[in-house]
Assembly symmetry: C2
């Protein structure tokens, strides 16, 4: 019921809070964590366009490289924290629409549930489209445990 957890993180404080709940779920049988970060490609495209528009095309590659390194570094840190709590950890970095990639990873990995943080209303979430968490609930068949930051 709680054995294999998908933990998508955007490295925010909300996501960090969710990590505490995962550790506690160990007592209810949690053993494995699939640690996922989705690079939101619409945001990256927006940024790269801005860089090109400002005439700094030589920074496009630098930006992509720096982003990759930053994500890998942060993911590694969280993976170590989970490993030291005796979880079996797998890390995933994907690009695309965050909620779609989360739903897809949950299916592919056959997780028991998804544990994720969410900002409150308004921040990063339009009322019409909903937050990433709302969209995950809407589109995934997996149980979803949402922790508000």
């Amino acid at each position: 019921m709680f054995k294999k957890i998908l933990y998508p993180t955007d490295f925010s404080e909300c996501a960090e809070k969710a990590l505490e709940y995962i550790k506690r779920l160990k007592e209810a049988g949690a053993r494995e964590v699939v640690l996922l970060h989705v690079i939101d490609d619409s945001k990256v495209r927006f940024l790269l366009k801005g860089i090109a528009w400002a005439g700094g095309s030589e920074y496009e590659e630098k930006y992509k490289q720096k982003l990759k390194e930053e994500v890998e570094c942060r993911i590694k840190k969280i993976a170590e924290e989970l490993s030291s709590s005796d979880f079996i950890v797998k890390t995933e970095i994907r690009e695309g629409n965050p909620y779609e990639q989360i739903v897809k990873t949950a299916e592919e990995e056959g997780v028991s549930l998804i544990v994720m943080g969410t900002h409150g209303r308004g921040r990063g979430a339009s009322l019409l489209l909903g937050s990433v968490a709302e969209n995950v609930i809407r589109h995934s068949s997996k149980p979803v445990f949402v922790i508000r930051g």
Copy 2:
């Protein structure tokens, strides 16, 4: 973190599924359950109007009485099931908008989290307004664990 759980139920199969997760959360420290059913007053008003329109006004009171008895009977059954699993159980029957009453009860009772079932997309949920679960996540500051039926 998991001590006091609010469990709102509409007596559906999805809600029943959530009950299994609550029992399992005992191992992670769950002790008390506030068992809530919200009588959706907009639906009741709609029904009573229909009864009156059909000329059956004498059935309005009968309908309300029968609904009350039915809810009490079902709540009692679930409360007994939880008690026999060694939970401290409190039951609540409220009238109003389901998600608003769930959010309000969670605050008033100072629960640690909300565990609830949800139907998938489409059933009982418009894409624009979202399901009860989505609205609870949007409006409550409590962690919400959503189990899809």
